[in-house]
Symmetry: C2
Subunit: 225 residues, 2 copies
């Protein structure tokens, strides 16, 4: 694990740290790979670690006792897991693709926060941003139609990939239709129907690993604030 050589250190919490502080961080953490479909941690379990995702994509989901599921987010490289400093995980994190995470013991990381106010500021900024995204997602879940939900999802995913790989109309979708449905409060069938319809109307093209956006303005109009 070499934080100074990390590809996405400028996108993650680490960007708040000097080289020598990165060294300190390196000492309390370790990088670990996870295969696709593996679980990083489970809802309800004790939260002994916090994580920084450096490669791959994760699904963050909450399960109701009767099996209904709500996906509360998808994590991408640079995202930090464990912003909620509660003793138990409030959701499950699963790898959608092979993933790499830096993991830090909660207490060690928390001690470090006391020493490095810039790190805390950075984490606070990330939490604020997450909160804003969560509130935006509330609008999507509460007040948008199925078509608008899909549009908002695709535009949102495009924006997130743009931060990492630069803007492109090609949007990879590592999650299944079921995952998308559970994220948007829809069923698989509705997600599939809507995407097929958008493809028929030449708004998007469905490709093996995701979609290609043909009519971005139309999608943005459907998703607009």
């Amino acid at each position: 694990m070499d934080c100074c050589d990390c590809e996405i250190k400028d996108q993650s919490v680490c960007c708040a740290l000097d080289p020598d502080e990165l060294d300190a961080l390196e000492r309390i953490g370790r990088s670990q790979g996870y295969p696709a479909k593996s679980t990083i941690f489970e809802q309800g379990r004790e939260a002994g670690f916090v994580y920084n995702l450096t490669a791959g994509a994760l699904r963050l989901s909450k399960l109701l006792p009767d099996g209904r599921r709500q996906v509360v987010g998808f994590a991408m490289p640079g995202d930090f897991l464990g912003l909620d400093f509660e003793p138990n995980h409030s959701y499950t994190a699963d790898a959608l693709t092979p993933a790499k995470l830096c993991q830090f013991s909660r207490v060690g990381f928390s001690d470090m926060l006391d020493d490095k106010p810039r790190l805390l500021r950075r984490l606070m900024a990330m939490a604020s941003h997450e909160l804003a995204l969560a509130q935006e997602q509330m609008v999507v879940l509460g007040r948008r139609t199925a078509e608008e939900k899909i549009a908002a999802f695709l535009v949102g995913m495009r924006k997130r990939y743009a931060r990492i790989h630069g803007p492109s109309v090609h949007v990879p979708l590592p999650m299944t239709r079921l995952d998308i449905g559970d994220y948007l409060g829809l069923t698989v069938e509705t997600v599939s129907r809507m995407m097929t319809r958008m493809a028929r109307e030449k708004t998007i093209v469905i490709v093996p690993d995701g979609v290609r956006l043909l009519d971005v303005p139309r999608l943005e109009r459907l998703a607009e604030v």
Copy 2:
């Protein structure tokens, strides 16, 4: 404005501060009253201040261009507004009852955060908690039926009042049915119908300023995680 005498200083950000630090806070802020139905700040406007609610209740809502509305939360005494450090407000805050808020210039408050790490830690904890609540609300919006939504709302409101006034089966509802609907992703009519039904089934009693919960276990079962 006398922070040391503040009734809810133990519930709000301020609890992270020593008496002399409270003095410093007092110098950069001022307390202000707002009448019911007045607007504290509006979605999209420049965010020049952050606020600490000390009395009353607020509605925090996002408006879509076509008039659809999503209430992203209700603020109660002790809640902090402006955790999202973005330059513009992402939602509108309206007073549901006469309200009192301490207001601080964003830059002044931000400078203070750099000096007082304990204040920042406290704010971070509040942001984390807000994020957890927002994710819980996603489950409600995305995966629960109308009846479950109402139950979750009532149980949640009861819990919040308990933090301030102690536990009670009497739950005041300062917001309208329309507000509740916009919070839960329902229409006024559905909210009204569900509450009338719950009253008919003797699960609740509707009183002038809110509800009285008769069958808390049943409501908690409906709302359970």
